[in-house]
Amino acid sequence: MKKTRLVIFVGTGGVGKTTTAASFGLALAEAGYKTVTITIDPARRLAQALGLEKLSNEAQLVKKFPSGGEFYAQWLDQKTALSELVRRTTKREDLAKKIIEHRFFEIIEGHLGGIEEYLSLEKLLSIRESGLFDFCVLDTAPSRHALDFIDSPKHLIKFFDEGILSRFVKSEDASDSKKGFWSGLLKSGQEKAFGIFRGVFGSTFFTELSELLNLSRPLHQRLLQVANGAHEWIQSSDTSVLMISAPDSKSFREIELMTIDLRARELPGPYRLLINRCLPRSPVPASFKQLSVKFYDQIQARWTAQNNLLEQIKSLSRWIPFVMTYPVVNPRKLDISELEKAGREILSQWPRVELEKIPDGEQS
């Protein structure tokens, strides 16, 4: 039974996050670790480079290395929806059907916008529970909302379990009317105000909502389990975060905002920063003007922006920065050896202590 280290890749779109996550996974495997990279939606060419033609929700073996390391890739099918989760957890087709066909189910599904992220988290947890891997590299969605997956269990629990709706459900139960939602309001002396509130929504709304919540009670246990397990993992010392930025200050500002968000979500880190796809460090050759003035100006602007950012980062002691020089991976000539080359570059800078296998029994 292995203990698994988790490396979360976070960054905005177009910075090569998915490619880098695959590369890093390969390099770890080459170094002898059993590794899985979980990715949400790989580009066709990346999937081809990895030899993965079919979508699969299970980890697929991509390559075995002489070192004994193995690299697996796993896709998370974003199309899997809440209904899938309901079917799996209730294990009773009649009950699942009742829930899914409820009039409110669709809006709840829409409302819990993080449901795909929740499922990612569930998959993630099953990787840990399997005890098969030394490392799990997780690629996240390319936006500031990428962090939703971390919060998704909280939303779900709030909704299904601890939240106001469950209190309200209790109150709809006639025998328990004194302790519930309505009575709370009545006690606070706002019954009139609340009558208006109810008028605005229409009178059957509350009854139907509580009916659905009662039906979905069996889900609560599993949700709670996943939420706690995943939260505990990402907040433990077995998890590190790699933020990926393009070499310009705008992309980096996004990264800083995302980091603030992550810290607010109690991810202790450590946080590393990868400035990906850097232009060569030497000045832009003057002869580039002959190519096209527009092109030269654009490259010059990119080069200046990159230098400014690299200077700025030097003074920020809270980051452990890695800088990857362009072109690490040519997107049109993507193959497994190109990916490995890029991965090695990160791995060579990765702290040794975080490459040690976690001893049994020490993981929280």
Binding site: A43, I107, A193, V200
Partner: protein, 314 residues
Amino acid sequence: MTAKLHFVSGKGGTGKSTFAAALTMALAKDPRNLPILTIDVQGSGQCASLLGIENPQYQIRPSIKINQVWGCKIMPQESFQEYFTRALFPGSGSSMLGEATAGIREKIVSGVFSNSIVKSFIEVCPGLEPSAMLGKIHFECTEGSVPETSTRWKHVIVDAPSTGHFLALFSSIEALTRVFSAGIILRQSAEIFNFVKNGNNTEIYLMTLPSELPAKETLELKADLKQRGMNARHIVVNRIRPNFEDSRAPQAEGSTWDEFLVVEKEIFTEEQEVIADLQSKLSPTDRLMKLAEIQAEPDLSLVQLSDEIEKALI
């Protein structure tokens, strides 16, 4: 006359806020388009900041850079309170409480909203928050005006959330119209949804990048919106690389920059293929806007970008 509503959405990290700001600037060049209100739904307030609206809040504030451009940031709780108040006390006499005085009105509303149970109910109740936010946008288009005047907005530009959260905005209100069996919310939701769906009122811009996945995702979002009766006519491809021809004599600059040129050219070719493919999948009434990669000083690039947009819009 209602204001023209513009939604800017698309994949995360494609420059939505910058585009929304540049679009506002491009429209503001013609005085007939003024006043303009920009609304930030993502909560970062980035679009407003770019336009010189400092520390944007729920309260509408003027730009200190551009005359007659205003901006605000919408938050779910505030939107819902406003939505709720309007539902109870519409301007005309048909209100639920008739001629409630301002004092009573305030008392009731603050009484309801100060209740912590009600507060968290709004937060978790499916579909309420997004619908209330859409309700606020709709209100600004149909009845909103420059603060303390009766001058109506000519354009309302919304820096909307990215793909999934943008869809949720509409799917939730659509679902609400089906779920609420009665009540004021039902009537309002239907009205708002019909307004937003109408192509005469609304323009939708989907931002994307010239590479395989963003292009694919954009077409999927467009299809999803279409299913909900909304036509996202404008596809904006941002950060397109410029072309170049390397006709120089063999160089001695060292290999890294030469290697860079080779890859850069390949990426350029790939980008053009993606754009051509995207174009071929759009209908004749759709418009594909191609924007260059601009990474100079923020202020300068915004002006450049708004010029480009202005040209593309004409």
